[in-house]
């Protein structure tokens, strides 16, 4: 998050000079959270697809302009970093138009007006107005305008990852208040009538929300024209009725078991399409890197050895999450823009490379010198000796620790959820957000990770037995 904030301050903007930039691009890329009901969420009543007020307004704008709309889901605190990194063209996520933001971004005219409310637990009567927030703990997305409101009122901010998390830590009694827009709170209450929370007060602040784009993007005239038409022809009202009339009776909530059953396949698909390929591709590339680094580390060339040492030191000395963010959010600032999946592959491969290099190096060193000499006396050169004599033996030593690396990698791929890869964990988050069924969905995701790792452990022991056929027992 810190990194994302750093990137924000160091941003540069590109200028688009064409007359109708959106139309000429033929596509409008829209960044949105996907976990902020009723504005941007995966709607269970629409088969779990991305929907919500902001999402549908963005779709309608695309229709008016005659372009395709592509949604990119990202967490709120990375959303401006991703916008700066040109991952998408606009943000449609109830972005409140403030003076500070206007200084950094282009805004369309507002398409929604909201009123802030202060939410507390039902049994808490200590808060009657904004002034009572002084000294209270508030759960907020740290970069949101609601966090700003709470901070100004003297509350301590506990950082969370969006409204869904904020409400659930309030339910659990881990914070005192949540400040957010009234409609998302009402929507939550309609969906969860038994939740132990209430609207304690209004903030008396009305705010306007619009699309945010990079400064000088030139997109605003087209956006505004489309919004005007949507307002005139009643589309905005229609979308707003669909999502924001929270008093309307909604479809009865599904049972937890039904929810799990309905999502078994979507979660499995995310695992099969994203988590597993991400793991396998990164591991294979990582091993190639690791072998090269291990050999460099073992070489008699001082420069090579030191480069390898430096690489291993950097990879092992920095958090994987930071490495992911550097590849995804920081590289675009020096003109290297990589799509989410390949970016994840790069970060994970480099990470595996650093860790596995030391495993491979020590495995190679565990092979007696006599084996190298015997290979030399039968005429094998360095590469031949390595390939035919040393590595086959070293692999027996390296397989158990490398299997650990692989199994860790399976679980580490969940971090890719932070850089827009809709893998297993992110999919579980998407489903959990509107339904608040965290236990059920994260439990299902955990079960899937466990199953994948069980299969890998099984494969590991079979492979080890095969490699041990030439060892005395």
């Amino acid at each position: 998050m810190l990194l994302a904030a750093l990137i924000l301050t160091a941003c540069g903007s590109s200028t688009n000079t064409s007359k109708d930039p959106i139309k000429s691009a033929g596509v409008l890329r829209v960044g949105t959270e996907g976990v902020y009901a009723p504005y941007s969420f995966h709607d269970p009543s629409q088969g779990g697809q991305l929907a919500g007020y902001d999402v549908d307004v963005a779709r309608a704008v695309g229709e008016k302009l005659g372009v395709d709309v592509e949604f990119v889901e990202t967490s709120w605190d990375s959303i401006f970093a991703a916008l700066e990194a040109n991952r998408f063209d606009i943000v449609a996520n109830e972005v409140t138009i403030t003076d500070e933001r206007k200084a950094k971004y282009d805004f369309s005219e507002p398409y929604s007006i909201s009123e802030g409310v202060i939410v507390t637990r039902k049994d808490d009567n200590s808060i009657k107005s904004l002034a009572d927030l002084k000294g209270k703990r508030a759960a907020e997305s740290p970069t949101s305008n609601w966090a700003e409101v709470a901070r100004k009122a003297g509350a301590e901010i506990e950082s969370v990852d969006g409204f869904t998390q904020a409400i659930s830590v309030l339910n659990d009694g881990r914070v005192d208040v949540v400040v957010n827009d009234n409609i998302s709170v009402l929507a939550y209450q309609a969906e969860h009538p038994d939740a132990p929370i209430k609207i304690a007060a209004k903030t008396d602040e009305r705010s306007n929300q619009g699309f945010a784009a990079r400064k000088n993007s030139g997109l605003v005239p087209e956006l505004n024209k489309a919004l005007d038409e949507l307002r005139t022809d009643g589309t905005l009202t229609k979308i707003s009725q669909r999502y924001l009339d929270v008093d309307l009776s909604k479809a009865a909530p599904r049972s937890t078991w039904q929810l799990i059953l309905d999502n078994l396949w979507p979660l499995a698909r995310a695992a099969i399409e994203k988590t597993i390929p991400l793991t396998i591709i990164s591991f294979v590339i990582g091993l190639v890197i690791a072998l090269a680094v291990a050999l460099a580390r073992l070489s008699s060339n001082v420069i090579l050895t030191n480069i390898a040492r430096f690489y291993i030191s950097i990879i092992r000395g920095t958090p994987l999450l930071v490495q992911l963010f550097i590849v995804f959010f920081a590289l675009p600032q020096i003109g290297v823009k990589i799509d989410p999946f390949p970016a994840a592959v790069i970060a994970f491969s480099l990470n595996v490379g650093g860790y596995a290099a030391e495993i491979i190096r020590s495995a190679i060193q565990s092979i007696p010198k006599g084996q190298w000499e015997a290979a030399e006396t039968i005429g094998l050169n360095y590469v031949g000796a390595l390939r035919r004599i040393i590595l086959p033996q070293a692999s027996r030593v390296a397989v158990p620790p490398l299997s650990n690396t692989l199994i860790s990698l399976v679980k580490d791929t969940s971090l890719a959820s932070t850089i827009l890869v809709t893998e297993l964990f992110r999919t579980a988050q998407n489903v959990a957000a509107p339904t608040f069924e965290f236990f059920a969905l994260y439990g299902t995701a955990a079960l899937y990770y466990w199953i994948i790792c069980l299969v890998l452990s099984f494969g590991q022991s079979r492979f080890e037995r095969r490699l041990e056929r030439y060892v005395a027992r």
Binding site: P368, G370, Q371, E373, A374, A375, E376, T377, I378, G379, L380, N381, G384, R388, I389, P392, Q393, R396, R469, Y470, V471, A472
Partner: protein
């Protein structure tokens, strides 16, 4: 007059400050067996290893068959490889490849280095295994063999490359006493067949029986060189006598 298969002139080798070989010169005639004896630390194993460039001499000229290298000047890698390809090497601790079967150990060089057809290499390997009495072990892994059998496979592996010279580094030192005989008798057969052999050994009786020439090394030089009768039977140097006395009458 028979031709020299090995000519070594002024070979020097040091490991750091430790001067192991201090100007060693000798020749080995084609089709003869030469044994190197001497106290431990006298440089005999290092001398053997310089003949295969497993240890590169610091100075001196060594010719093996048709390849001559002056080690005081830089030599291209390919030339060193050519030099190495002229000799086979049998290690004290066999150094068989544990992940390969007996047969795979023997054909590794012929097939993957000399690029000969696998079938041809295999049938030659089987002949060699017959010769060392291990044909029935062809598909076993090294760990399934006794020490003497492992060493005999090591010999077959060295011979499979059809070297002009076979080097033995204390081939029986790591063996249990009852296994020494089977290995020595294989080596003896090779001498009879006319292979050119250089053997570092502590087996004085064996050296006496098998060799045409004996080199006695001491403190990095060849102190005495001659026929077994001369060097072992009637040593001229006091140090040779002391050494032989210690070996032959250890108590």
């Amino acid at each position: 007059m028979t031709e020299n298969r090995v000519v070594a002139e002024g070979v020097h080798k040091a490991f750091g400050d430790n001067k192991v070989l201090k100007g060693v010169s000798f020749t080995v005639e084609q089709g003869t067996a030469t044994t190197i004896i001497g106290p431990s630390g006298s440089g005999k194993t290092t001398l053997l290893r310089t003949l295969n460039a497993l240890d590169r001499a610091d100075a001196g000229v060594i010719r093996v068959d048709d390849v001559e290298i002056d080690f005081s000047t830089p030599t291209p890698k390919s030339e060193v490889r050519r030099f190495q390809s002229r000799s086979g090497f049998v290690f004290q601790g066999h150094n068989l490849f544990p992940h390969k079967t007996v047969l795979q150990n023997i054909i590794e060089g012929p097939v993957f280095v000399q690029k000969r057809p696998k079938e041809e290499a295999e049938s030659e390997a089987l002949e060699l295994l017959n010769q060392v009495g291990l044909a029935e072990k062809r598909d076993q892994y090294p760990y399934q063999l006794s020490g003497g059998q492992q060493q005999r496979v090591g010999i077959a592996r060295a011979l499979a490359l059809k070297p002009k010279l076979v080097l033995f580094d204390e081939p029986t030192s790591a063996l249990d006493p009852e296994l020494v005989g089977e290995v020595l008798s294989v080596i003896k057969d090779l001498a009879v067949e006319g292979w050119t052999l250089v053997i570092v050994t502590h087996e004085i009786q064996f050296a006496r029986q098998v060799s045409n020439q004996v080199l006695f090394t001491d403190q990095g030089i060849i102190l005495e060189r001659g026929t077994p009768e001369e060097v072992i039977g009637n040593p001229k140097e006091e140090r040779t006598r002391q050494f032989l006395d210690r070996i032959l009458n250890p108590l």
